[in-house]
Symmetry: C2
Subunit: 282 residues, 2 copies
Amino acid sequence: MQKSLKVNKNSPQVGLIDGNGMQSEAEAAASAETQLERATENLRGLVLRGAFPVDVKLPETRVAELLGVSRTPARLAMAALEQDGLLVRLPRRGFRVRSFSLDEVVEAIEVRGELEAVAARIAAERGLAGEHRARMEACIGRAEVLLRHAEFDAARRGEWCRMNVDFHDALVGACGIRPLRAAYAKVNLVPLASPRDIMFNVAQPALTRRQLEATHEDHTHILEAILARTSTRAAALVREHAYRSGANKRRNFPDIELRRMVIETPGVALIRTGEADAADVA
Amino acid sequence: MQKSLKVNKNSPQVGLIDGNGMQSEAEAAASAETQLERATENLRGLVLRGAFPVDVKLPETRVAELLGVSRTPARLAMAALEQDGLLVRLPRRGFRVRSFSLDEVVEAIEVRGELEAVAARIAAERGLAGEHRARMEACIGRAEVLLRHAEFDAARRGEWCRMNVDFHDALVGACGIRPLRAAYAKVNLVPLASPRDIMFNVAQPALTRRQLEATHEDHTHILEAILARTSTRAAALVREHAYRSGANKRRNFPDIELRRMVIETPGVALIRTGEADAADVA
DNA sequence: TAAGGGATTTTTGCATGCAAATTCTCAAGC
DNA sequence: GCTTGAGAATTTGCATGCAAAAATCCCTTA
């Protein structure tokens, strides 16, 4: 029996798209050059979606099997997700899925806000360059188009998330500080902390719309402040914007009805509900 | 010929200690549970020390050979250093060592300063808890002891670096914001950007002493401001402290004499000198 | 019946073999 | 002389086998 049996068919095991239609990992996995990248993004999707119980050991054979690859890329993918903070390595016992407290999510959003505030200040001081300015202005326009519609179906939710990611990425990119981008990317790895992770409270559409409109106004004022070169105001607005995002998450999360509706929002499954910050090893 | 030949003897290939006597990777590699951790830390040391030419492909066979392990852990170690930003992955062509501009180092230090400033503000607002306060006060004491000596030999330089790392880590740890710690750790991965990476300008001992005394005074005032619960002042002092650190690096780096003397300071070898930000792919 | 200890089974960690991709070599053609 | 392309030689990426560690199970004993 030769090894050329090629058990792995690159089978499309995990083609799910998330509840907001973002298709994030799916996209990344599709455009992946190597099998490892596919495996990593597929595994990330599985983990964020709660395919594995939290705080429980994750056997690499099962991962390999689920991903349709051998143990080598599966192990590499697990190592990558460990670096992202989603998995914890138990010295000689493999990996387990890490859980996050809601507090940590909110903290991550606030740290993100601080980083974005620095970016906004620098962008305002240096002046906003063409490409980044265009991207941010385009986001304002996209938001206006979306807000004209009364209903937000999955496609519009996805488009809103993409718009939001674009706006924030353009802001952080605009300052041109590479280490700032790296730190920003790092805090965005905390589940639900990234601008992509918007919880649409389908149980309370009126509340959701108010939140989206507030977001849009924030964006408008932030861009305006940057263009006016009022760096302190821009930074303050960005901080407040992040604060609101964290507050929204805190308000929306406990709504059990909501959680049932947006359970596909990647990362929700990893947030501990209720009790204390139990086994929370680094 | 069975595979149990065990070519790898866990041979102590890279037991060098750096110019400041920090023995950082050496320590980590020694206390490592698994061979992969040893390989990773040894490889990190080699890369930071400039054992491989910058911006040039790094064949995994050579890495495996140098580390005395097989290709599997070598590859895993390279993947880990990629996550740390020290190596860049070329899709189907392995890895290469990344170079950094001096500008990026200074930027990383400034971002670090912003994060530490947030930590200081929060610590001041919440009050400094026992353990962290004790660690920071101990650092003040250690610095005073060291400054009583006129000469800074390698051992004292190492102790100074450890003291500095301790102070900054305690500050960031004091606020209790885990995502802040993660972001802080991320920017510290940029070579020369961490509080550990102090360049002792042996060519100008008087200048060096002034810089160390200034550092000590900064630390004293920062701790004082936090204890006095003056959060804004604490944050401002921390920002200024980081600014000075970046300015010192900028001032010290071009000194070619110095660079020859402190070439063992990990990371110096990765900084591009002179010309433009050449091939700087993300 | 519960606890302790040892043997079996599972799982991790690492080395290695193979196929595909890339890079290198070198000569032929413009 | 310089470019170009076909074949050779590396090198990467992945699957798999083996040994050691961990987890589990089962039996003995109090």
